[in-house]
Chain length 600, copies 2
């Protein structure tokens, strides 16, 4: 049977030929691991994903969660799947052995999780959000908070959410209105409304911990006045025993275009003035805490977008290989048999584009995951800080690029299946609907573009940007050793040089106070920056493919040839097209900035 | 209240400032019309669309047709809407007065119909398909067939379908297997299976006439052996009275991602050997008949795509004007009020792109509709033939360009609404799902690209292409009179010159037998050709806007400024980006052609 979630050959290529996962086992933290333990975890993940997650992916879509008597009900298949995930230890894959974890590198944890994301985006969201909330308490919670709230999450008895968005403010967190008043016992009483809270209610765990952004009475205005609170669905006593319901109510469910199996909730905090919350860390530091864990969440969202793209790519590839239709342009004899549509050049274009998007983004997502390991386990503090800076810089790309281009991959998968692709009898239309969420949640495309150009590239005097440019140039230099790669390398070098100049010019605008002008075309900048990064990752893959071909076994020839062809597609079809966007950025084109509301 | 279907100011601009609809009233056929009769028809269309079509657009989506006892059931709101459409005469808008029609120009009929397409794509499909089938019988049917089958359609008692696609063949009509055997009475007995037949069953009319492609026993293989048959759902006697059910059965309904209100059916013809059909015109000429009416159908599909884009654009514009969120980059004081999101440059970019796509494509669709009038009513046969050639050439663009770029507009509309846009509480996600069908039905994107490059540009020694190029150059020359338009004109001129050279080179390939190579990148050719055409239409609109500004009233200034800004967006942001695609075409880039199945 064809693989349906991801290509295990490609995953092995990424882990062991491109990203050198085995080198991680030489670090102290991962010393008890080796390729066998890595592969065992991956095999377990694949098995659970295929047998318990994938089979109810369509049913999740057809039977979305229902609001019944103030609670959200799910289809019965979700809980056994999530329970198997928990039992296999994936929730705590990266946690210490002694805390009940597998102490796996983040790279491997992400690679395992990718299988669940491909199999069932909606069901995988429940553990995903729990991992994020748990990591937040682990990083910033008090010892008592860890005992009362983190430990049940580690044990899988309590799930988590992130509650940021409010109805009147959306992306503008500076304007949230949820208030937290100190109570006599040292806890707080919250009052406010949050929307779009994924996994905000469900019957999968005995309790749910909401990580809520709110403002204290003395909070300064804006983002500097936001604090972070633990707000449990059920109160928990000092020994960790469940008490009565907290004053958090499920106001309703949102009915989405896709990703339907994950509850998207409106939550009311403190309708009766009795909503108990616990301050995490210091007052007014909530947003910085949230953003520290946002790196992980955004990598996760990016990988989720990749995996929807990947599943669609594999499905449409299989379909194209097995669907006879039409003939080659030079073989129109109607008495000859029809050919499989994979033989049509335009279908190959749509498959090749999908391959370039999903395998390029998959590489970047795993690269970011490995970088996260570097932030935790490199030998010196200086190296760890450098890795973190680079990860910070890349995060807007890791989140946004797959959200845009793996959605485009899904659009192509639908097209390859034609009329069938448009029906709910085939999975590709659901991937397309599911993936449309990714450019919106965890920071929209627009937010990512402002984060990149307005904050990240200039961080610490541009240190991370310089480091990234050095990495890309180094890759180009290594590629120069392969004459066969010169046509692939040159478009990247041309893009890189101009991107550097454009970046300096735009930062000049920002520093000289021309902020609106400098940021006006941030969407173009995000696109070009993303294509530069993915172009780099494809050139890196092409180098490894050439090395594989040189040393490799005959069985792998086709695999490496495919890598080279996808790299060729991306670097010669897509990368040079960015030159025009750079020209617009260079010229500070003001077409959008000058547009007036009244002119529409 | 904001307009929700289309901008009536923009429609007036198209009809009376760009396309000179009043000039048509000087033609004999339209001599009884004038601007008042045109506007009265438009007002009626808008009224019915707003009051009877739009209100059940979401309900159509939520309650898709059900298969009950061999028949398709619809929600009850569809029939009154369609009945009002029929009663107002829109089904026969272009038909002769004496045949009960309004004898309107096709341009006006299309402009009226656009309102229904924007209001409710699914419900508007039923009359749309009936108009297509009726025109086919009118053009090619015998007098008897017209009496028995066309007349009830004109009277709205009988609806129609087009039945082309079969399960094993999809786009490859050469391979259809439905057979038609001659019967003793001069009729035929059909046997075969068709899928994706829109409006193939419903309770809206007392009868349904299927226009079916099938093969006679002596048919030569391939597309030259296809004949066209009338196959009624209920048999009709010589006086037009309904008889028993014909042997056509509803095998099932397809469940689609969007466009759910229109039944998409699987039909079985002749399961019991008793399926009566009537040959239309000559044997083996069926495909050419079907293609002659396909011009209309494809313009209609293109306009349908435009109108879904248009409705989404207007909705997201209204939302952006009324949704406060965040502040300008240079005004971050959190105590200041939030601004409407239309003030953000990136939101303006997304609105401006939508405007450029939908108003550019709207102009092209109406231009094509007017050209259709020219094919019918220009004075000389030579002029009419020239118009038809040009329409033939433009048809793949009219169909495919809006299907791709107005879908992209819908994607942007969802993005502007953020998390709300992803929910079914707002209409934009449905527009996005509905519009995803348009690049597939009535000839996929791939089919359109082969039609354009493989057939249309070389037709009659390239006569139509030369005529189009002359029209575009003429537009550029007129634009040269406005210094303000030089930055808009130049990118189009640069594209045009290179497109001409590339076209010659590719036709050289095709004529020298390098067919696979010449057609390998037809998708790129379609994209660049389409952008050239839409760029031309935007330059034309910009000229009219400049003229309007020069002579105009103060109230119109904003409208014309908006036109100029959208033209600027399209011609300076989008058109120059095609240069890279032209370079790939010039180089006969073989990346996709060389890709091997085994390498994926």
């Amino acid at each position: 049977m064809s693989e349906t979630l991801l290509s295990s050959r490609n995953l092995a290529f990424e882990l062991y030929e491109v990203l050198d996962a085995e080198a991680l086992t030489r670090r102290e933290r991962f010393a008890e691991h080796n390729r066998e333990t890595f592969d065992a975890a991956l095999t377990t993940a694949r098995g659970i994903a295929e047998t318990l997650f994938a089979p109810h992916n369509r049913k999740n879509d057809e039977h979305e969660p229902q609001y019944v008597d103030g609670a959200a009900q799910l289809i019965p298949e979700v809980k056994p799947a999530v329970d198997a995930f928990l039992a296999a230890g994936f929730l705590n894959a990266t946690r210490d052995f002694e805390a009940g974890g597998m102490q796996l590198p983040n790279l491997l944890s992400q690679a395992c999780f990718a299988h669940f994301q491909a199999a069932n985006a909606a069901t995988s969201s429940y553990p995903f959000l729990t991992m994020g909330a748990a990591n937040l308490i682990e990083s910033f919670g008090s010892a008592e908070q860890k005992r009362r709230f983190l430990q049940p999450m580690i044990e899988g008895r309590c799930f988590g959410t992130m509650a940021l968005t409010e109805p009147h403010a959306g992306s503008s967190l500076a304007d949230i209105r949820t208030r937290a008043e100190p109570a006599a016992d040292g806890s707080y009483r919250l009052r406010g409304n949050k929307i779009f809270i994924s996994a905000g209610d469900h019957p999968l765990s005995e309790n749910i911990v909401h990580m809520v952004l709110a403002k204290l009475p003395d909070a300064p205005p804006g983002v500097k006045g936001i604090s972070l609170f633990i707000v449990p669905k059920f109160l928990v006593d000092e020994d960790g025993n469940l008490g009565p319901r907290n004053d958090v109510t499920l106001a309703g469910l949102f009915h989405k275009m896709g990703w339907r199996g994950t509850t998207s909730t409106a939550l009311n905090f403190g309708d009766n003035g009795q909503c108990v919350g616990y301050l995490v860390g210091q007052p007014h530091q909530g947003l910085s805490y949230m953003f520290q864990m946002m790196n992980e969440a955004r990598i996760g969202v990016g990988m989720g977008a990749v995996m929807l793209g990947y599943a669609g790519y594999l499905y449409s590839l299989d379909y194209a290989r097995n669907r006879p239709q039409g003939r080659q342009p030079d073989g129109k004899n109607p008495s000859s048999p029809q050919v499989a549509i994979v033989e049509h050049a335009d279908v190959r274009r749509m498959l090749l584009a999908q391959k370039a998007y999903v395998e390029g983004a998959f590489d970047l997502g795993l690269y970011a995951a490995r970088l996260f390991d570097d932030t935790q386990t490199l030998a010196s503090a200086a190296e760890r800080a450098q890795a973190l800076e680079l990860l910070d810089l890349l995060t807007p790309i890791v989140k946004s690029w797959p959200s845009e281009f793996c959605l485009k991959a899904n659009e192509l998968a639908v097209q390859i299946l034609g009329g069938h692709g448009y029906t709910r009898d085939y999975p590709v239309e659901q991937y397309y609907r599911d993936n449309r969420l990714n450019p919106i949640h965890e920071g929209t495309h627009g937010i990512q573009s402002l984060d990149l150009l307005g904050r990240k590239v200039a961080m610490n005097g541009g240190a991370a940007l310089k480091r990234l440019l050095r990495l890309i140039l180094d890759c180009c230099q290594r590629a120069a050793a392969f004459e066969s790669l010169s046509a692939l390398r040159q478009p990247l070098e041309q893009l890189l040089a101009r991107l550097q100049a454009v970046t300096l010019a735009l930062l000049g605008d920002l520093m000289s106070g021309k902020v609106n002008r400098g940021l006006a075309n941030s969407a173009l900048y995000l696109k070009v920056f993303g294509h530069t990064v993915i172009g780099w990752r494809w050139l890196e893959q092409a180098i490894r493919a050439e090395q594989g071909l040189a040393g490799g076994q005959a069985a792998d020839r086709d695999f490496y040839q495919g890598k080279l062809q996808a790299a060729r597609y991306f670097l010669t079809w897509e990368v040079p097209a960015c030159q025009h966007e750079l020209a617009l950025l260079e010229a500070r084109d003001a077409t959008c900035l000058d547009m007036r509301d009244a002119w529409f």
